[in-house]
């Protein structure tokens, strides 16, 4: 590195975004960039940002696909504004310039800025020539031409050679971050084992990009990002959806209950289904059903038969599953429903994130139909989120929601690998054969949980179903007093889960001026904002809720320790509505964003500062 012409500067954290046409290979180089940063010891978080169409119209804003990576010493989110943007065409530059920091480095493919592409993107003049990018460190590199030149000796056709220009750009990034190319070359060797010609072409393109960056004048500064300050242990990079799948596998192994997933493909939850389908060797039974309803119903059947039963979906699918979830509540069977939330209503914004299914999870069923609700806060946290949801569902014989969202489900970050034996034990209340006291709805007096009597077990034959049942005996009952009793029991059983939950913790001041209350996938941005405000000496604290139904027992007391409460959410105020209903004695401010995008740290800081200033 010493022979380099440039000076390297140390940066605590850097946000990079790769943008281009969907099909330009932005997700691939984004992932490769992420893996390299991880191997270099950086903390990281990333977020793929792609359109709902598989291949959107060429060179239009609608077709722009992006991949944002935040690397550094310690990062909590995929970052707000970018230090570096790699834009492969005019449309992707136009769509993403608003995310560039002042003075950010912008690498563009000069060859892609022809008249036609510029017009199609909606620019009225060429942004590379009209001085509109004066405030940025603009690198206009003829990526297409350079890539084709680099691959000349391979005699590829023009189209194929052109496809490697993403690797050329990535090579430039490796130079910018002072990384060795070997990491990428190892990856090529693994990924393209069956297509050796791709190994050669990608290597050549990357090397050429690296060399080009070394010679081009415009790159005057390179980055050194210090290694993360992480706890000791073994780490890996993991996406939220994969972490969710693995959390369930761990819960299945630890509880001894075989895993069954009944699911139907839906964005952005499908990866959980695909991931679990890979792990039949761990005994996972994965059933891709004919529809969302069959997904959840097969899971209910599997739960009755003794499996750790799951169904995974997103908003529209959850709507379809509502009636069946009621059946699981009525039969008091364990079932985990994973909702990887996306923008709604209806088909909405399939590839964008939102927190707008909370009220549906809480109340979206006929009758009074309480479920347990757990929300994961970050990609790696989906592992424990899934594990805990499975534990609560089985130990309390109650359908349990795990709420994640497209942002944390598809985003990834570093994950400290746990040992399964160190995870909390899971003890499902399985009934013993020939238990003379067994009755289908006889309950543990403390937890109100009934026993799980598995078909095939001697001496426990019984019937359950969607009709109201008499408490204890489980016989069909239309008795008015019994219905009231059972309705109350189903509710109280869920509320008693709070006895087993840890108290809600607070980050920051233990009492004082402002408490920020949040839940789910917004943790990273909000935590970062709070950290910065605390460092600025602001009287602020943060309570991030993991358990939503029931709420931790100390919630009411905790909310009372602050003069003001603000609830930022990526919806128009669902958790705040629930808090207002549950603890009406407090006044709640809210900050809401419904754009299919995550929070920015800066907008949160502004919102919190504004409330802090209010008298």
């Amino acid at each position: 590195m010493t022979q380099k012409k440039n000076k390297a500067v140390t940066k605590e954290d850097v946000v990079v975004k790769f943008v281009g046409d969907s099909g330009d290979g932005m997700q691939l180089i984004g992932n490769l960039f992420t893996d390299t940063a991880a191997l270099e010891g950086n903390d990281l978080a990333n977020f793929p940002d792609y359109p709902a169409e598989i291949r959107g119209p060429h060179n239009t804003i609608a077709g722009v696909s992006g991949f944002q990576v935040h690397i550094g010493k310690k990062v909590y989110s995929s970052g707000d504004l970018c230090d570096v943007i790699v834009a492969m065409n005019p449309a992707s530059l136009k769509a993403n310039l608003k995310w560039a920091k002042k003075g950010a480095t912008i690498i563009t493919d000069l060859d892609a800025f022809d008249q036609k592409a510029i017009e199609k993107s909606g620019y009225t003049s060429n942004p590379l020539e009209d001085n509109s990018l004066q405030g940025y460190n603009l690198i206009k590199a003829p990526l297409t031409t350079l890539t084709k030149d680099a691959l000349k000796e391979l005699n590829l056709d023009g189209k194929t050679a052109e496809k490697s220009r993403n690797m050329f750009a990535l090579g430039m990034m490796y130079y910018l971050f002072n990384w060795k190319l070997d990491i990428a070359f190892d990856f090529f060797a693994k990924k393209f084992k069956k297509k050796p010609e791709l190994i050669t072409s990608n290597k050549l393109a990357m090397q050429a990009g690296y060399n080009y960056a070394d010679t081009v004048e415009a790159i005057s500064v390179t980055y050194l990002v210090p290694a993360a300050t992480l706890d000791k242990g073994r780490y890996r990079n993991i996406s939220g959806n994969v972490a969710t799948a693995w959390g369930f596998l761990a819960a299945s192994e630890r509880s001894g209950r075989p895993l069954f997933l009944g699911s139907y493909p839906i964005t952005p939850a499908t990866e959980i289904l695909m991931e679990l389908a890979k792990h039949k060797s761990l005994g996972a039974k994965v059933f891709q059903a004919e529809d969302e309803i069959a997904g959840v119903c097969s899971a209910i059947g599997a739960s009755f038969a003794g499996s750790l039963a799951l169904t995974t979906t997103s908003g529209p699918g959850l709507s379809l599953k509502s009636e069946a979830i009621g059946l699981a509540v009525m039969t008091e069977l364990p079932l985990v429903i994973v909702d990887v939330q996306r923008g709604g209503p209806s088909t909405g914004l399939p590839t964008k994130s939102e927190q707008s299914d909370l009220l549906q999870a809480l109340y979206g069923r006929n009758g009074e139909c309480p479920c347990i609700i757990v929300a994961a806060q970050s990609p790696s946290d989906c592992f424990m989120g899934a594990y805990e949801a499975a534990k609560l569902a089985m130990e309390h014989m109650t359908p349990t929601f795990l709420l994640t969202d497209g942002y944390i489900g598809q985003g990834s970050e570093l994950f400290r690998i746990p040992k399964v034996a160190d995870l909390p034990s899971i003890k499902p209340p399985v009934a013993e054969p020939n238990d003379p006291d067994y009755k289908p709805f006889k309950r543990d007096p403390k937890t109100l949980v009934r026993k799980w009597a598995l078909p095939g077990t001697e001496g426990l034959r019984h019937r359950v179903g969607g009709l109201e049942k008499e408490n204890i005996s489980g016989n069909v009952s239309m008795n008015p007093e019994n219905h009231q009793l059972m309705t109350e029991l189903r509710y109280n059983k869920v509320m008693k889960v709070a006895d087993t939950l840890p108290e809600q913790t607070v980050h920051g001041n233990k009492e004082g001026e402002l408490l920020v209350v949040s839940w789910g996938g917004t943790y990273g941005a909000i935590h970062t904002a709070i950290e910065e405000l605390l460092q600025e000496g602001k009287d602020i604290a943060h309570a991030h809720f993991r358990y939503i139904m029931p709420l931790p027992k100390n919630t009411e007391k905790l909310l009372g320790k602050y003069k003001k409460i603000i609830v930022p959410e990526l919806n128009s105020g669902q958790f705040v509505k629930y808090l207002r209903m549950t603890f009406p004695q407090y006044r709640y401010h809210q900050y809401n964003k419904i754009q299919g995008l995550p929070f920015n740290v800066s907008e949160l800081k502004d919102a919190f500062n504004k409330i802090l200033k209010e008298k």
Partner: protein, 345 residues
């Protein structure tokens, strides 16, 4: 080790009483469901499985109260979803003998999708489809099997829809087993339910059933004393297709399909008749037989199709066994530490 996937056998002989539940049977007096219940309670002890290994699943409708009336593990589901629920039960525990009780509303209308897909997958489940051509529990609306023109509470001028023939639907969905019985013939019902159990794969048993309140006499053409002999043919594997009061009618396969012929007329003898082959893999003739109906044909009863194909649940287990044999990932710890990981000291 390959796991033995057959249902566990009982060590003690069982009787009908072992399967009688303590619940009051609340079907209308005279309802065909009583006869079906009695037939099934006769069949279960004869099958030879442990009584704990039976599981009866249902949806919604009169038929779907069934699980409460047999003393087995039972699950009363929601409308149309019995086949999906049962699929989960069977995949989760292939050692169970899983039975679905469903009706023409439950499986032909609201649950139509699950019905065709369970059949397509060939999950080893026995489906008893009670067909009374009416919605009974909601008091008399037409169903997808009500004949065209049926006057019901929701079709005062007669239905204007073409009905489903469940047998045709089963064949269309690549069904491997289809049998048909009538509630007035308990002996035949018992026989075909037993055949259904023996079949590996999805067995659909359609039971033509009378609704005394809302569709009295819907199968009169087939079941009445005067007409039944001429309008029914009970198929027996390996035997020529003969029917009629005087056993003088038969089914012949002609160039353009099936035809009813009279033995002794035009030189036709028993040798000319179609011989039933329920095990034929090709469903062509089975489909023709399933579609036969009065007035031009007798309705076919008994086992129409029973073809051998791999079952979904067996293939699930096979894939699991194969994956277990071919992987280095034996535990979740192995999985967590697979691929690119690194140590921070």
């Amino acid at each position: 080790m390959e796991e033995n996937l057959t249902v566990d056998r009982t060590r003690v002989p069982l009787s009908k009483e072992d399967f009688v539940s303590d619940q009051m049977v609340k079907w209308c007096p005279g309802c065909g469901d009583h006869a079906i219940l009695s037939s099934l309670a006769n069949v279960f002890p004869k099958i030879g499985y442990r009584k704990e290994n039976f599981c009866v699943v249902s949806g919604i409708g009169c038929s779907s109260r069934f699980p409460y009336y047999v003393n087995t593990y039972g699950f009363h589901g929601i409308h149309g979803r019995a086949n999906a629920i049962a699929t989960g039960v069977k995949i989760s525990n292939p050692h169970l003998s899983v039975w679905v009780a469903t009706g023409d509303g439950d499986s032909m209308a609201i649950g139509g999708n699950h019905f065709i897909h369970i059949i397509r997958r060939n999950v080893d489940i026995n489906i008893m489809l009670f067909n009374n051509q009416i919605y009974g529990l909601t008091k008399g609306q037409y169903s997808p099997t009500s004949p065209m023109g049926s006057v019901t509470k929701t079709s005062p001028q007669g239905t204007i829809e073409h009905p489903f023939n469940p047998g045709e639907l089963v064949m269309g969905a690549q069904g491997t087993f289809f049998a048909r019985g009538v509630d007035t013939n308990p002996k035949l019902m018992t026989e075909i339910m037993f055949e259904a159990t023996k079949h590996d794969g999805t067995s659909v048993v359609e039971i033509l059933q009378n609704c005394v309140i809302f569709n009295e006499g819907c199968h009169y053409e087939i079941t009445s004393k005067e007409k039944r002999d001429d309008n029914q043919i009970v198929l027996k594997n390996g035997e020529p297709m003969i029917f009629g009061k005087n056993k003088d009618k038969g089914i012949m396969l002609k160039q353009h399909g099936l035809e009813v012929v009279t033995i002794g007329e035009n030189g036709i003898t028993e040798q000319d008749l179609l011989v039933h082959d329920q095990y034929s893999q090709d469903p062509g003739i089975h489909l023709m037989l399933a579609k036969m109906a009065p007035p031009y044909f007798p309705i076919a009863l008994g086992v129409i199709r029973s073809a051998l194909f791999p079952t979904y649940d067996d293939l699930v287990e096979e894939q699991i066994q194969r994956s277990k044999a071919n992987t280095t990932i034996k535990t979740v710890d192995d999985l967590l530490n697979s691929g690119d990981t690194w140590e921070i000291k």
